[in-house]
């Protein structure tokens, strides 16, 4: 993923301290894969900002970008873990329709409280995860086949239970996808104060974590990354967080605005799952199984258990995505979630996940989802036909993976 921005960053750094340049450069080239996709996203955002005449990054279209793509991010979080472990899940789109259908029926036909309905949906997602996981892990049917079957099974069941459509009447439930966090601190001019507070807190946390990480690395006797790189990170993060905070604080209308609830849900899931994948024993097992299953087995790792739990996680995340989607569309249909699995898989691959497993990160997949989302949003603001949008998304996927493969081949 070597796009322009990465090299631009590199050339900027050359002008900074000469002493550190060589180590800084080597750190950056070593992580090009990681930074490259971020650079690509920035290039795409700038390009569409120009092409749409500045509409893309208006506060409200930014919020709708998040609300519209939340489902891809939620599904991509699980998908990237499944792909790292050398499997795939094709059933998530159908699960969104089926679980969404069950949730809608509970609320509308059986008058179940919306919160209870969400809880039941999540449990249903976990149960379906156990189902998929059982076939993959303990019967050893490849994930591709198991979930291809699941894709048909749950799409069929969704059509059976939903019929034409089930509209949602609960205002509270519909609010999940469209509401903001309450405006508890009032406004500063046009800006929601809560958003500003959260923005500053996140930036402070970022800086704190960067420096704590440095001291931790130094404490264990290793050489930390060059100081200039840390500062560059802090400055870039400051700019990005500041800009997003500004957009969010100005979003909404006269009575409401600020941080969309969907962003909170997505944010929490990303943080938790990134923690699971990078900091827990389970996360290590996922990478170990994906990188070399035989070696992992000979190291005492139960690869079947890993597979099993991965599909349960995927079932859970599918349920969350189903609830979000149902809230957004305000009506359950059998067609809901069509091709969502493809969007999630594409996001993973654009975000640098290896087709053969073993390599991939959740931040990468999230950025991959944003790349797809921005292209979608930008082109639709420009009034481009949806069929053409699809074609362009396909080309972007192909191009991203091609660049990735070629850069790897050069290295090897």
């Amino acid at each position: 993923m070597r796009f322009k921005m990465a090299t631009e960053t590199a050339s900027v750094t050359q002008k900074t301290e000469k002493k550190e340049t060589s180590t800084l450069l080597s750190t950056i080239t070593g992580n090009l894969r990681q930074y490259g996709i971020v650079g690509a996203l920035i290039v795409i955002v700038i390009a569409f900002q120009i092409l749409t005449g500045g509409v893309l990054l208006k506060p409200n279209s930014f919020v709708s970008l998040i609300q519209q793509n939340a489902y891809v991010i939620i599904l991509a979080i699980g998908m990237v873990m499944v792909i790292i472990a050398t499997h795939i899940d094709l059933s998530v789109g159908s699960l969104v329709a089926f679980i969404g259908g069950v949730c809608a029926l509970l609320m509308e036909h059986y008058n179940v409280n919306w919160m209870v309905a969400i809880l039941v949906s999540i449990v249903l997602g976990l149960v379906i995860g156990v189902w998929n996981g059982f076939w993959v892990a303990y019967v050893r049917i490849p994930g591709f086949i198991t979930t291809l079957a699941g894709m048909l099974i749950f799409r069929g069941l969704a059509t059976v239970i939903v019929g034409e459509s089930v509209p949602i009447t609960s205002r509270d439930f519909r609010g999940i996808a469209s509401n903001y966090l309450p405006n508890i601190f009032g406004y500063a001019g046009t800006m929601d104060i809560l958003t500003l507070v959260v923005g500053v807190a996140i930036f402070a946390l970022f800086v704190f974590l960067q420096f704590r990480n440095r001291s931790k690395v130094a404490a264990s006797g290793l050489e930390p990354e060059p100081m200039s790189l840390t500062w560059i990170k802090v400055v870039v993060a400051g700019l990005v967080i500041g800009f997003v905070t500004y957009l969010l604080a100005n979003s909404g209308n006269d009575t409401t605005g600020g941080i969309p609830i969907m962003l909170v849900i997505v944010g929490i899931l990303v943080v938790i799952y990134n923690f699971i994948l990078t900091r827990t024993v389970f996360g290590r097992h996922v990478y170990a199984v994906g990188g070399n299953r035989k070696a992992a087995r000979l190291s005492g790792i139960d690869d079947r258990k890993v597979d099993f739990f991965l599909y349960i996680h995927m079932g859970f995340l599918s349920a969350v995505a189903a609830v979000c989607m149902l809230s957004r569309l305000a009506s359950a249909t059998a067609q809901a979630g069509m091709e969502f699995e493809m969007d999630a898989i594409a996001a993973c691959f654009i975000g640098g996940t290896a087709v053969t497993g073993g390599i991939g990160t959740i931040p990468g997949a999230v950025i991959g989802a944003f790349v797809m989302g921005v292209i979608n949003q930008g082109l639709s603001i420009m009034g481009v036909d949806t069929a053409i949008v699809k074609t362009i998304k396909g080309l972007v996927l192909l191009g991203a993976v091609a660049v990735d493969l070629m850069s790897k081949r050069k290295k090897g």
């Binding site: 404490a219 264990s220 070399n292 000979l298 190291s299 290896a354």
Partner: protein, 515 residues
Amino acid sequence: MAEAETILRMQNITKTFGPVKALTDVNLSVDRGEIHAICGENGAGKSTLMNVLSGVYPYGTYTGDIEFDGKLCKYKNIKDSENDGIVIIHQELALIPFLSIAENIFLGNETQKNGVINWQETHAKAQELLDRVGLPEDPETKIMDIGVGKQQLVEIAKALTKDVKLLILDEPTAALNDEDSAHLLGLIRDLRDNHGVTSIIISHKLNEIADIADNITIIRDGSTVGEMFIDEEQPLDTDELIRKMVGRPLTNLYPYHESKIGEEILRVENWTVHSPLDSERVIVDNANFHVRAGEIIGFAGLMGAGRTEMAMSIFGKSYGVGISGDLYIHGKKHELKNVQQAIDAGLAYATEDRKAYGLNLLQNIRENSSLAALTKMSKMGVMDDNTERKSVEEYRKGFNIKCQNIDVNVGTLSGGNQQKVVLAKWVISNPDILILDEPTRGIDVGAKYEIYEIIDRMADEGKAVIVISSELPELIGICDRIYTVNQGVITADVSKEGFTQEYLMRCMTKEKDEI
């Protein structure tokens, strides 16, 4: 012996892989209509020589001359040598499991007209060939449905379609049971006597060679060291053969070490393991052995003796089916059903194939080293980074793993350093019994010495160390006691006084009924 005409003459063959000289001025001369055996230790260069002959390594990548059937040969690929009637059957069979016997026999050589296969003729011809090799199977049977022994016969049938003059068999009986081996050897003899086919056979089974070969060429460390002739009046002198195979001088490549041997830690009794591919075939046959604290024991055996299989079957049944026998650790009987239980019981097994079974090449030194001990480095399932870094860092220094830092991918390390990472992984898991399978395979002399030092240190810490190695000098240099293994049977328990290469090799080739 009647006046024989030479069919193959290989002269001064030298082949290098990078800086490594695999063959140096090897000479081989084979008479028409004989069965010629090539003998040598593991890694002596036998297979390399055959690959040179068959064009796997094309003309120009080696030096020296090959003369076959009176013609100078310049083979660019296998097809060229096959056209001249040289067919090689590799140790790993080259059959396609999902295709039928007939399809495999004629693969690449189909009975066809304008690209359309004539199935009647294919099957009729295949049937004829199967009759010739004595395989009573339907030609439409799929390869995956027949055993390895029968697959070997299909390979020979395939060779016969190519008008074979010289048949090369690389360890043809290594994976076969006694009955299948006898049938195969009978077939090779029949091809010689009734069809004039010359054969070259590479084998580790000395009794087999004594039985079938007319002539033997012995290769050691990439050079020809001698030839031997066998006929009825003059049977094979196995001792002489062994002397020629191993006669390598022992040099001072091993650190001085005096073991402080303590209590018995591991005892294995009546251990029997069957092959997962053929549950009838016995891979480990009623093995008994023990190791004590601070002791370094060796398992010596030729390729396919069943040493790795024995170690892996002990290590939480990672290999084999129908495993029986008793295992005692610190005098207590254990039933280890999986690898995790084996690790918990204090066992560690460092594999012979570090790339396929030992390391995750996509991850870094830290992540690979801690993999077998993650539970010890975490609280409530969350990794404790500091503990992990500290202990991996300790072994990076202790084992002198040459790298920038522990966050370097293991894929970029040299073989010796990769091996040290594998060792670090198992030492970090803090075992009582450390099984090291070919710990110095494919690494340079300096790194080898360091690994021997690590092994000595482990023993000094009171661990029981088991080393499996194909290099006899290495075992002699580092072990306190050596078990020799042949075809799944532990043939001898040799103490330090008996450590000579000749004696060990004799034990390694001893048959079960000779014990």
